[in-house]
């Protein structure tokens, strides 16, 4: 039973329901609505190249949410995310591919079919892997899932009827829902949209769905079971959480997200190549989760934005901070591209050294400071 909220007392909860609500304070309601509205109007004030970058980030965020569910919420560290991303991407590409192509397998199906299918295939693979998680813990599990990436690469390389083979690849699944194409410029409700604008809106919509589903899952019985397993799996088992089932579920849900994200990312980029689903990709997703904030959905999105936009930021660095860039590159010490790579590594290190809770932790600090302002607590 929802009870009336007292004005001016945002943290006074009078029922369990309002305490565990999705948006449990008025500030959150307003804030989230504002952010979503702001993002929704993105196509009108961002340039096309920024929009396609953001579309990539949104698709990546879906994958990051998936990884955060298994690693952050359920505590099962997985370095195998790249494998599931690849599985989703190739499933989508195969189901959508041209049936008349002699070189590759294809079925020419709609996005309404290939998107869920990409998730389901990845989820089934997750189910197959999950017994390893039941038997192993911590770093052992991390390295076994790392092995999964290498085995996955081998499979992708060998199955060249499906993946197009290493170095060649194939076209990704096209974003086409019931005949409406998101991947070409066109008009919608009388307004003209470019291709990045349409993809941006599609990805934003799917991200909102994925994020809300993730938040809901985290606060449900399953989410609490995940947290119990993460905090102390033996204790969780003692109070009646089925470990085998919970871990399998965590891997399946996470892989489902990864499959969907992989398919969407491929769609935004357009071409997929089996060699791209390597360890580095897995590490990027782990970095998204850690930099964003472990066991937070909003953190996963922030982390995905950060990691996806970072290369662009470092690329533009010489233009925006000519003095600093000159200092580093001017004496032939490092080229701009090398500077970008070093910064990528160094920023990850610096971030985790100074704020291990990630971007979400920065927000918590900021919020707590202003909550008590002008007093320190």
């Amino acid at each position: 039973m929802a009870t009336r909220r007292l004005r001016g007392r945002p943290e006074l909860y009078t029922s369990y329901e309002s305490d565990s609500a999705l948006l449990n304070t008025p500030a959150k309601k307003v804030g989230v609505a504002a952010i979503v509205a702001f993002a929704g109007f993105g196509p009108f004030f961002f340039t096309d190249d920024i929009l396609s970058l953001l579309a990539t980030a949104f698709a990546a965020a879906i994958g990051a949410i998936g990884l955060n569910l298994v690693t952050g919420y359920a505590g099962q560290v997985s370095l195998g995310h790249a494998f599931f991303l690849g599985l989703g991407a190739f499933t989508a590409a195969t189901l959508n591919g041209d049936p008349d192509d002699a070189r590759l397998v294809g079925y020419g199906l709609d996005m309404l079919v290939w998107l869920p299918a990409a998730g389901i295939v990845a989820a089934l693979a997750g189910l197959i892997v999950s017994p390893a998680a039941v038997r192993l813990r911590g770093l052992y599990l991390a390295i076994v899932t790392l092995g999964l990436v290498f085995l996955g690469l081998h499979i992708f390389r060998e199955a060249d009827k499906i993946t197009g083979g290493i170095g060649v690849g194939r076209a990704a699944g096209r974003a086409e829902i019931l005949g409406y194409r998101f991947d070409i410029a066109g008009s919608f409700l009388g307004l003209d949209f470019t291709e990045p604008q349409k993809l941006y809106v599609l990805m934003l919509g799917l991200l909102v769905v994925a994020a809300v589903a993730g938040r809901n899952l985290a606060r449900s019985k399953i989410g609490r079971a995940f947290a119990a397993v993460r905090d102390r799996d033996i204790a969780a088992e003692a109070i009646g959480v089925d470990l085998v089932r919970t871990k399998a579920l965590a891997f399946m849900i996470s892989s489902f997200y990864a499959g969907v994200a992989g398919a969407l990312l491929a769609t935004v980029i357009g071409v997929i190549e089996p060699g791209g689903y390597n360890l580095l990709l897995s590490v990027e997703y782990i970095a998204m989760v850690l930099i964003g904030g472990v066991a937070t959905i909003s953190g996963s999105i922030l982390g995905a934005l950060f990691i996806t936009l970072l290369p662009r930021f470092t690329q533009d660095l010489p233009q925006n901070f000519p003095l600093l860039a000159d200092l580093l590159t001017g004496y032939g010490f490092l080229s701009v591209d090398q500077l970008r790579q070093v910064l990528y590594g160094v920023l990850i290190v610096a971030f985790l050294v100074f704020e291990p809770r990630g971007l979400y932790g920065l927000w918590i600090r900021f919020r707590n400071y202003w909550k008590g302002w002008p007093f320190s607590y």
Binding site: A132, Y140, I143, H154, Q338, Q341, V342, Y344, G345
Partner: protein, 297 residues
């Protein structure tokens, strides 16, 4: 049969650098409970120092290797002091990701040194071989096996008989107790990283011996990960056994798989270490020699 023996020796040769790398991983793990993903970068750094000393400056190869081990140990010390020491007590996965960040950053400098070419380390063995009763064994593989045997024996003696080795064992057993008994745990951390760095440099030299160093060399070090898992994360002896096992399996797979198991696809030997790891873990979740975790609720 001759072919089989040759393949086994080749496997033991490559297995010995996996073993050296794996021992480095295990030493760091035992001291700090962290798996250092910076090991690949350290390995290539070591090989690059050898290139710089032996090839570019033309110094004696063995001297160059010793110097490279020392220099890489210093690099490892700096990494430990700057990036890892502030993270003591933080969640292990955060620290693991930090080591990945370090790996990425160091490899940029290494690649800059290497350039787009392949570089030789001017090793004295090249691809020369010795024949014993019709079995041809490459000199470099013999050198790797002997060097690894010597280094590992020295390490075991160090852990067993020296004061520092005792301090390291004490820290591995229980950090707080070691600290309260006057062991400088910080020094142990530094020493572990230095040892791991020196071992990685030696491994890097062997990886490049008879071959070369290039921008892709670092991926070899990742195969030491299955080795430590097979051997058990916290067992130095297990790391050696695991490394050799992985090397032999990989070599045999490379020799026979295309002929007898073609359905596994080409170049299956490259991923075979990971399959071995999965099989071992299904039977023994803590590896062959690892200590099972006993948990209190």
């Amino acid at each position: 049969m001759t072919r089989f023996i040759e393949l086994v020796f080749q496997g033991l040769g490559t297995g010995s650098y996996y073993a050296l790398l794996a021992v480095g991983f295990v030493i760091i793990y035992k001291a700090t409970r962290i798996i250092s993903f910076a090991q690949p970068a350290l390995m290539v750094t070591g090989a690059c120092f050898v290139v710089a000393f032996a090839t570019d400056r033309g110094w004696n190869f063995y001297l160059a290797v010793l110097l490279a081990m020392g220099c890489t140990a210093v690099v490892a010390l700096i990494i430990e002091r700057v990036a890892l020491r502030p993270m003591v007590g933080k969640p292990v996965f955060v620290v693991a990701i930090i080591t990945i960040g370090i790996d990425v950053a160091i490899r940029v400098f290494v690649n800059r040194f290497l350039g787009a070419d392949v570089r030789s380390i001017s090793d004295p063995w090249k691809l020369g071989g010795v024949s014993v009763g019709g079995v041809r064994i490459q000199q470099r593989h013999l050198a790797m096996m002997i060097a690894t045997a010597v280094v590992v024996t020295a390490l075991f003696a160090f852990f067993k008989y020296s004061r520092a080795g005792l301090a390291m064992r004490a820290t591995a057993a229980d950090q707080e107790t070691a600290l309260s008994n006057g062991v400088s745990v910080g020094t142990v951390f530094a020493l572990s990283w230095a040892l791991a760095g020196a071992l990685a440099a030696l491994a890097g030299t062997f990886v490049a011996a008879g071959a070369n160093v290039n921008q892709e060399t670092w991926t070899v070090a990742l195969k030491a990960l299955p080795a430590i898992i097979v051997g058990g994360l916290d067992s130095v002896g297990g790391a050696v056994v695991g490394g050799l096992l992985i090397g032999v399996v990989e070599s045999l797979m490379g020799g026979y798989q295309a002929e007898h198991l073609p359905w596994l696809g080409s170049n299956f030997d490259i991923v075979s270490p990971y399959v071995v790891m999965l099989v071992v873990l299904l039977v023994r979740p803590y590896g062959l020699f690892g200590t099972p975790e006993i948990e209190r609720v």
